[in-house]
Every structure is written in structure tokens, then in C-alpha cells.
């Protein structure tokens, strides 16, 4: 009997959610949101040498590793690790916050406080490990995927703000991913950079 009741409850639940589905569908971003920049296949230490690919938001440029001890870069990528220009990693005023369970396009403003910095080589602004930071690792299929609903808000080396969504970790953003034929350590991501120093993204 309990099973039947459970089934009925489940069906009722499903019906409820099915009805509300339309309301929850995201709306298209309005055209006055400027500069959603998409970067495709940024290599992130593909040779597994522990070398970060450094990146600057303001002009979407890769910065040479020779400039790692400068404020010319905002974030760096190596494997699944993403660093900011702060703390032990760089002289900048960088930092990061991971927003959870939000949509990238709905984030209108960077938080005022709560930014984490690179405290040490193991205590990072963006935590590593499956489920801790931006990605989920599937031990059965060995696929690394960005976690939906997580938005990285980055404070740049010069204290400005950018919001960022990781789209893919695999070259060419393939669907579905086959870890045995597709190449990992290639970031596709989109971001919005606010050059005027405010925390607003629109």
C-alpha cells in the first residue's frame, strides 16, 4: 500500500513540477548587457609541466609566464586548477568568489566582500577537488565537467570585477565527451568584464 501511495505522491510531485516548468525557463539576456566574451580552447598546461596559462580579461589576452610576477594577468589555468593574481601567486589585488546555484546571465552584480585569495599553494581562492570549485569529476567515465549553476566572480589584478562561466574543459567543447579520444585541459569559457571599476555587470 505504501508503495502505491508513494507512487501516487511521486506522480503528484512530477505533475506539480511539470506544470511549473515554463515559469522556470531562463529568459534571454537583454541586448544591453555588453561584452559577453567567449574564449575557446584556451590550453591549460597541456604538457602537464605545472605551467599556468595566464590570462587578462580587459583585452582577452594570454600573458607570458615571464610576467607572472606582475599585475599584467588576472587569472591562470593549469589542469583543473584556476588561480587568481593574489597572495602567494602574484602581486595583484586579485581574488575570487564562487557563486553557487545561480545562472551566469542572472548575476547582475559582484558581491561586495568575501573574496578569497591564494593563501598558499594548497589553500586557493578557487578550491580544487571534485565538487569543491568549478568542476565535477566522474570517476566512472573520467570526465571533468563544469558544475552548472556555479559562477566564478573574479577580482582582477587591478581590483576590477569579472564574472565567468566555464563552458568546457575539453578541446572543441565536444558533446558527449569521450575521455579516450577527446583532449582535456582546454578551457572554453565566457565572461563579462566591467572596466569602470564598479561591481555592476550591466
Amino acid at each position: 500500500m505504501k508503495i502505491i501511495i508513494n507512487i501516487i505522491i511521486t506522480i503528484a510531485f512530477l505533475a506539480l513540477f511539470a506544470c511549473s516548468k515554463k515559469d522556470e525557463e531562463p529568459t534571454q539576456p537583454s541586448n544591453n548587457v555588453p561584452k559577453v566574451v567567449t574564449i575557446k580552447d584556451l590550453p591549460a598546461d597541456t604538457g602537464k609541466k605545472g605551467k599556468f596559462t595566464l590570462f587578462r580579461f580587459s583585452d582577452s589576452t594570454i600573458v607570458s609566464n615571464a610576467d607572472s610576477n606582475s599585475t599584467k594577468w588576472d587569472i591562470g589555468f593549469a589542469g583543473t586548477t584556476i588561480i587568481t593574481n593574489s597572495g602567494v601567486r602574484g602581486p595583484g589585488n586579485g581574488g575570487a568568489i564562487i557563486l553557487k546555484e545561480v545562472d551566469f546571465f542572472q548575476v547582475k552584480e559582484a558581491p561586495e566582500s568575501g573574496y578569497r585569495i591564494e593563501n598558499s599553494l594548497t589553500d586557493l581562492a578557487i578550491p580544487t577537488g571534485s565538487g569543491n570549485g568549478w568542476y565535477l569529476y566522474n570517476p566512472q567515465t573520467h570526465v571533468v565537467s563544469p558544475i552548472a549553476g556555479r559562477v566564478l566572480v573574479i577580482r582582477t589584478a587591478d581590483g576590477k570585477y569579472a564574472k565567468m562561466q566555464i563552458v568546457s574543459y575539453w578541446k572543441g567543447n565536444p558533446q558527449p565527451i569521450d575521455p579516450f579520444t577527446h583532449r582535456e585541459r582546454f578551457y572554453t569559457f565566457r565572461y563579462v568584464y566591467q572596466p569602470n571599476g564598479s561591481r555592476k555587470f550591466e
Partner: protein, 784 residues
Amino acid sequence: MGNYRFYPQIFLLLFVLSISYSSFSQKIETTSFLKIIVVDENSAPIPQTQIYLDTIKNIFLTNSLGLTIIQIPRYSSLKMQFKKIGYNTLDTVVSIDQNLDTNSFFVKLSPKNFKSKEVVVTATRTDKELQNHPMPVRTILIEEIKPISTFSLGEILKEFTSLMVIDDYTPGSGVQVQGLDPDYTLILINGEPLGNRTGEVFDISSFFIGNLSKIEIVRGPHSSIYGSNALAGVINIITEEPNKPTDFTISGRYGSHSTYNIYSNLKKVLLSGILSTSIYYNFWRTSGYKLNPNSVGKTVPDINQHTLHTEGFWNITNNSRLKISFRSNFETEQNQYLTKTSTQSDTIKTKNDVKDINTSILYKNIVNKYLNYEFRTYHSFFSSNTKDHYLKNGDLFDSYFFEQNLHKIEFQANFLPFAANYVTFGAGFQTETAKSLSIAEGSRLNTQFYLYLQDDFYPYNNLNIITSLRFDRHSNYPPQFSPKLAVSYELIPEVTLRGSFGTGFKAPTFEELYLDWTLSRVGYSVFGVAYVPKGIAKLKEQGQIAEFLISPDSIPTLKPEKSVSFDFGWNIRLSDILFTKINFFRNNVTNLIDFVPIAIKTNAQRVHTYRNINRIFTQGLELTLEVNFLKYFRFSTSYQYLETGDLDVINRIKSKKEFKRDQNGFDRPVLLSEYGGLFLRPRNSGIFRMTYNNESLGLNTSITLNLKSSYGYRDINGNNILDDNLEYAPGYAILNFHLYKTIFDKFSVNFTINNILDKKDRRMLSPTPGRTFSFTINYNYVQQ
């Protein structure tokens, strides 16, 4: 089955109750009364029994007291027929005492059920009648299997049950019962475990049992008598004992993809039954096949397999018996795969040799009608050796071995302490050794002690209550108590209600506890939980740890996976025409063991271990229906409706913490309606079988349709849960045809077409090469 003179007192009472009393005195000279009471085996009245009096060509019905009173002319004898659904029809001639005004008869009808006397052993570890069994038990008999002429366990289950046979030659192959993974079902042969190997795939489709007499399938948890791994169910293969002076069978089968199967089975009874023996030998080979013609490796590898199973029986006295059984299985698998490094790719030839040798000795003694006991020993040796070589120069690429030894002694006593209670007590001790390069320090020894107690109680004739409890003390995990309660109630002879509640557990495997393994060319590592401190210390010393994802000190000891389950249902049988069974079930499994990364190495690869994390449920219903019609036809169906889910995922979805992303990059919460539960679980699955069986012609032909609705295959959108239409594999239908005919008395032939619709998809639960044909010829010699 005879007629009985009725007890005068009851007769008098019934007589007074009779409405035809008033008319009685008027016709006293020419007519007399006939009083008939119809009862069942337990002397309970059977109402609505049809009584046909041939002499006067008339039909009468019994009332709710099983009684009828008939006024008839004074004959000296009467020819009568008693008919009632669910009972054997009784034809009889009774003599009438013409001096009496009233003749009384007490008629007993025996219940009719075509499997009524079938005895099953698996659910209780005692002989118990299948009918009205409180647990969901199902049997597949040799008589049903013979006409399809395949003796692979996987093929038999696919042909006769709605169970999900998953054999994709990867870990996790086997049979999924009630939506739970294959390693939650215990597979036994004559009560001894099979395929319970640590880290090894037990491939039920290449397991051949030409010497079987039947397969018993019990669903629901049975850890209360079997201990670990009996969460979802127990499948017990029972071999045939010699019962004729000589019985010899030889059979050959040839089929598509160069698949041969040859077996012989010799059974002999010697010294007028004091000694008997059976010798079964099976050879199977297949050249395998590829589903993707461009792939280097085969979907199913090249396999060569030899099986020998011999049993000896010695009836020492009328009440004591010794049985010795020896079973060995040798198998070689060959395949190829591609290995890639950053500079080149190579083809690797892989060869896997498996040896499996089991011996058991059983001594059984019936002391008196209140007590019997048995004593068994079981020894098992298992080894698996894999050697991988480069195809181009034959150099060794990789090798792996695993070896396991198991010794068990067990004692079981059954006794009747007082009326209607049948009590079973068992105790056992077992040691298990595993050796492998990938086990920390090379080898491990485990010991286990257990006790179990069961009471099979009949408070009333139609009410049966079974309670059981098992205690397991193991060197690897905390003590386990596993209780179970099962009840059946026979409402009317045609309808039985039943239900059970029980708990089950699955012990952590050797791997989960002691693995020390690094994939040599890639460099990622997996440690068993008990080895984590040492393994991490070793890597740290070697400077291989870049960072910890979780502190290695915070990893808790591994607990067994636990389940709490209940089921209920009913059986309905209307004589041998229709039989149907329904079972509703719900299983809650907690402490599921899963892989977790604990650290990242300097080579950027991860270190993994295991942890108790998930909580899942499975629920649904199982339906069996058998209809016999037009004398030779039988339609049978088994259907399963299944819902599954991860309770933690459901909680995250409900609190809108589980997100998904669409193709345009928009993120939103996953809706509960989108969550599809666990992967590889079709919501609907069923088989439909139509058989034509004409014994006088020796002809048996059948078609079977095996249906699966679509099911989650793999995660695509990256949140590791089933919540997107792209993540499903399509449902499918497999249609099989069998034709079986006996010829020239001793021969029989079978022609089979499997997968007539030629369905191919590598995502299928049990992939097939498409349509295949096979032909079998059997010779059977019996000396009566």
C-alpha cells in the same frame, strides 16, 4: 480420496437445518436422501462444488458449509462426479443402503496445482513447498529449459525472467534484481557461492549448467540466512541427482560467430542405490564479435572454456548420506586493445586465464522425525592471470594476477521442538585469502564466523510465519545482525497473500579495503580505505603528492552497505489454467560505497579511495502470469515496473541545489520531473513467451519477446545525474524463436534464431551481435 460415513451428530444437526425436511415424509416409500459434505485436505468445507449425478443426469452445488442434500429415487448405487476449480476432479461410484432414508457421504477433494508439490530450498535453506511460500520464489525447471537447448545461465534468465541481465564484459556484469546492482545478488550452485569474487567479473552468460535440474530465484534480502551480498536476491542452481541405473546425454550445439558448445552428462546408480555418481563435462568456445567494425578490440572476446562437474553420493544408512562434489572451470579469453601515448599508439594483445576449482563435502543425517542435521565443508580456489603484449614485437606491456582461496565449514540442524514450528540453527566459520600485486603487501587473510537461526511457524493451517536472524562476525568490518520476517496467509485455496520485511548487507570488498594500485602508464592511483594512511605516507615520502583534496586522516573506516526492504503481494491460481503472482517491493540501501578522489599527485593524476556515501532506493512491482489453453499452448509473461533514485540527489533537487546547463549556457535548477533515477534501470521490462508443447509428437516450439523501455545510459551534461533526454539509451525488443523435436526415441534437435529483429546497439544492457542462428543435437540413453 475415499468416501466416509458421516458422524451421526453432525449429520443430525445438518439434517435439521435442511430446508427440504418437510417434503421428506411424504415420499418416504419411493425416494431417499443423499447428504454430501465436500471438504478439502484440512477438513474445511468447500462451497460451490459441482456435483454431477450421472444416474439422474443432474447437477447440484454445495452450500457455504460444503453441504448439499439431494432427494433421489432409491438406487442401489450412484455414479457421481465432483468438480471444483483448484481441485482435482473426482469420479466415483457409491453404493447406497436402500434400507436407510438418508445416506451420508463425506468427500475429500485434493487441491490441484501443477506445481503444488514442488519443493524449494533456497529461501529458507530447508525443503519447503513452493505453494504459499511467504517469500517471492520462482523456479525454472529443466523441462522448460530443455526445449530451448541453451544452458548458459544468462541466456536462461533472459528467456524466462524479466530480470536485467547486464553482460557488457565490464565490472558490474551479472543480473540486476529489483534494480539493484549485480553484486547484490548471490549466485549459488547447490547452495554454495559462485561468482562472489573480489574485483572479478562473474560472467553469467559464459556460465554453463547442462547438469541442472532447476534454478530457484528468490527476490528480496536474504542476509538473514546467507550473510553478505544477499541484498537483492538469491539465485540457486540445483543440479540433477542420479535416479536411474544409467542416464547418459551428449549434446552438440553450433551457432553463429563460430560458437560451439558440447556437453556430456553421465549419471549412474550403483549397488541398488547405495552409491551413485554424476559426471558432467562442458566445452564452450566462441570467436566473439565486434559491434564496431573499426575498433581494434572485440565487444565479446575470443573465449575457450572447459567445465567439469562431478558428484558422488553414498547412502551410508537409510538415514544418513554423504555427498562429495568437485567442480572445475578453466577459461581463456583473448582480445586486443589500443594504447595511446602522446607520441604513438600501439595495439596490445591481451590474454586472460581463469581457473576456478571448488570442492564440497556434505554429510546429512536424519536422527529421527524431530531432528536432522548436516555438516558441510567447502573449498574454493580461484585465479586470474592477465598478460598483455605488444602485437608488433611480443614484448610484455602489462600483467596482472589475482588469486583467492576460500575455506568454509558449516553446520546446520533442523528440529521440531513443539508443534507447527520448524527450527533451523546454523553456524559456520570461513577463511579467505587473496593474493595480488595490487593488494597492499601482496596478500590478505580474512576470517569470518557466523550463526543463524530460523523459525518456520504455522499458527494455523493457512498462516505461515518465518522469522530468521543471522549474526556475522568478520575481521574486516563491524558485526552485523540481519533479521527477516515473512508471512503468508492462504485466504482461499485460490488466493494466497504474502509479505516480508528484511535487512541485508554487502561487505566491503578486498579492493575497497586493501587495494594498492597505480595505472602504470597513466599514473593514477587507487587505495583501499584500510591502506590509505600507509599508501599516502609512501607517496608523500616519494614527493608524489601535490595537494590533498580531503585530509587522509578524515577518511572514515568502511562500513558494509546496508539495505532495509519490504515486499508484499499475492498469488492467484485457478486450477492449472491460470496462475498469476504480484509482488510489490521497496529497497532502501544506505552506506553505498563509492569512489572519491583524495589527493592530486605531482603528475597531475588523482589518488582515489572509497567511502560510504550514497543512499538509494528502488521500488516497483513484479508480475508473473501463466495461462494454459487449448491443451498444448502456454502463454507466460514476467513484467517489472521499476523506479529508482539516489535519495541525496533527490534532496538536492528539492532544495534547488542541483543545477543543469542548456546548450545556450543558461543554468537552472534541475526539476524533479527531469530526474530519471539511477543509470541502467529501464522503468518497464518484460518478457512475453508463447509455447506450443505437444508431448505426443515430441514437439515444442516457442517465441519469446524480451522488451526493455529506455534507460539512462551515461551522464552527458556534466552533473553526473540522469536528468537529460540525451542521457538515455533507447528501449529495445529482442525476439527469439526455438523449435525442439524429439526424433527416433533417443535423439532430439533444436533450432534457434535469437534476435530475429536484428537489433544492435552497443548501449544495450546485454549487447548482441544481431541475429544469430544455432543448431543443437542431443542424444539421451536411459537404462530404466
